[in-house]
């Protein structure tokens, strides 16, 4: 099968623009997660990692990016940077765009606008880049970002394009925040993945882009899988069924794994489910970490953002500390989670995500000639 590589990536988060800058911030334990009171007109305070929208829109305007929603603007900014780093032609018929988001411009509904279709945003962003192909948007709940990377990999293996630009973003809104509040899924404080004291998730905003290609480069996207629990639309399987089936499908040689970058939302059920899936897959001796304590749950951006940061971590020989974890494990299986940065010489990792609708995804990434 044709091999698929990451040609470049870019992330834009409340911690800043740039994968490198974000990785440095994460290594230093920084986060923009904080309590928001009255933001978006939400009555009940909530803990989240949110952008300074005015600053980003001003930055975009300087680059001549004008007339797009905030959601579309952050996708354009990250994709533009990833595309120029990759040195590919975005307007070539040989370049295909794959988008990832859950709710896109949904905040426009509140203002009475019906211009909230995910496909409309995808069309506008791909037209900004002059791309002639009809774009596709993966909207697979919280696994969207990984599902989009997997779709990009498949497009290249199927020889439908030479390069694929995968772009994911999520912006928060009254719509999303009140929804998670109504489900009682939000933590009133900093989220604590895998911790005994975890009380739920924090929401986050981010955009992330990755250019994939068949041209050999540092990182290979080796194998990906998407599996459904076939159990419940808003709760994970108690046996970790789908997540376990994903791990079974993608892990080839566990000895090469530096870590598993878990979904780790810090909800009671998700983290417990992941610990069960990891045990069933025979991976309890592999370090496990979650990035939600730095960024919150960035939904449609999470898969791409967390994959890009995990690649940096492997390059730096680091297993990133799980921010928010206090050292008191709160899941039934003894997964190796740490609140301190660790060292590794291994050259591969697995990114895991799970989401509503019973979906799960896993992606194995490997650096250079590792193994």
């Amino acid at each position: 099968m044709t091999k698929v590589y990451r040609k470049s990536d870019e992330v834009l988060t409340p911690l800043g623009m740039g994968t490198e800058e974000n990785f440095r911030a994460v290594l230093e334990g920084r986060s923009q997660l904080r309590l928001h009171e009255g933001t978006f007109g939400v009555k009940e305070p909530f803990f989240a990692s949110l952008f300074d929208r005015d600053a980003i829109m001003a930055e975009a305007l300087k680059k001549g990016i004008e007339g797009y929603s905030f959601f579309e603007t952050i996708m354009i900014l990250t994709a533009d940077s990833a595309i120029s780093k990759a040195g590919i032609s975005a307007s070539s018929p040989d370049t295909v765009f794959v988008f990832s988001t859950i709710k896109g411009n949904v905040d426009a509904l509140e203002k009475g606008s019906e211009d909230v279709l995910l496909s409309s945003s995808a069309e506008r962003v791909s037209r900004y880049f002059g791309n002639p192909n009809s774009p596709i948007t993966v909207s697979n709940a919280c696994i969207s970002g990984l599902a989009a990377l997997i779709q990009g990999q498949r497009i290249l293996r199927g020889s439908r394009a030479r390069n694929v630009v995968v772009v994911g973003a999520e912006v928060q809104s009254k719509f999303i925040v009140t929804g998670f509040q109504s489900l009682k899924a939000l933590s009133p404080e900093q989220c604590k993945p895998f911790d005994a004291g975890r009380q739920g998730l924090n929401l986050g905003e981010a955009a992330a882009a990755m250019v994939l290609s068949t041209d050999p480069s540092d990182w290979e996207l080796v194998e990906g899988a998407v599996r459904n629990d076939a159990n419940h639309i808003s709760g994970p399987s108690r046996t970790g069924e789908g997540s376990y089936n994903c791990l079974r499908a993608v892990v080839q040689d566990k000895e090469e794994l530096a870590f598993i970058s878990a979904h780790g939302t810090s909800t009671a059920y998700n983290d417990e489910m992941e610990s069960i899936a990891i045990e069933r897959a025979g991976l309890l001796d592999i370090p496990v970490g979650a990035l939600k304590g730095y960024y919150g749950h960035t939904m449609g951006a999470a898969g791409i953002l967390e994959t890009a940061i995990s690649m940096k971590a492997v390059e730096n020989g680091t297993v990133i500390a799980t921010r928010g974890f206090t050292g008191n494990l709160g899941v039934s299986r003894p997964v190796k989670v740490s609140n301190e940065n660790g060292k590794t010489t291994r050259q591969a990792f697995v990114k895991l995500l799970s989401g509503f609708g019973g979906v799960n995804a896993a992606l194995l990434c490997r650096r250079g000639g590792g193994r």
């Binding site: 099968m1 909207s139 697979n140 709940a141 779709q151 719509f175 998670f180 599996r227 509503f356 609708g357």
Partner: protein, 177 residues
């Protein structure tokens, strides 16, 4: 190849045979449930998109032997333009006073794939792709690409769209690798 089409104007086409119902829109979906399914009360909790997708697949697979035996080799891969737009409007209407958790859950495009997977015990891939129009070529390419997964031997796949609760269409079939 098996295929089921359901349109909000009352047309239901099963393997090429068309039936025109008096009932239109949501009334059509409830009528189909009451006459063709009956044993899955969770149906009434679903939003319009899920009801539509659920029913199309019921009509598609109801005569299969051992249809409820769990299987990982059949994927659910759907395409559409609206996603959960109808239900987004319904949820938005509750946001100011008492945001409804039961409506919020259905504001995700892929819940319809999850409902189908749960009903039929499909543990394979489930994916929802949003497109601006029913582009058969991209749908065909995407489905072929999904078959790169060695576990996926067949797929419940097709177009599903619900712009308004009384303006919808589903064209769902089973494709074997």
């Amino acid at each position: 190849m098996k295929e089921v089409k359901i349109y909000s104007d009352g047309r239901v086409v099963i393997d090429g045979t068309e039936t025109i119902y008096e009932q239109k829109g949501m009334a059509l979906l409830e009528h189909l449930y009451r006459t063709e399914v009956r044993d899955y009360p969770k149906f009434f909790k679903m939003d319009a998109l899920c009801k539509l997708g659920f029913l199309a697949v019921e009509l598609l697979v109801r005569d299969e032997k051992d249809r409820f035996t769990p299987r990982e080799d059949r994927a659910v891969i759907l395409f559409g333009k609206s996603g959960p737009l109808c239900n987004d409007r319904n949820y938005q209407a509750t946001v100011a006073d008492f945001p409804s958790p039961s409506l919020f859950v259905y504001t995700l495009a892929n819940i319809v794939t999850g409902e189908i997977a749960i009903r039929n015990k499909y543990k394979g891939e489930s994916s929802f792709f949003v497109m601006s129009e029913k582009d058969e070529k991209t749908m065909k390419n995407t489905l072929e690409e999904a078959f790169q997964d060695p576990m996926t031997a067949e797929a419940v796949t097709g177009w599903i769209n619900c712009m308004e609760e009384n303006d919808f269409e589903a064209e769902i079939k089973i494709i074997v690798k």
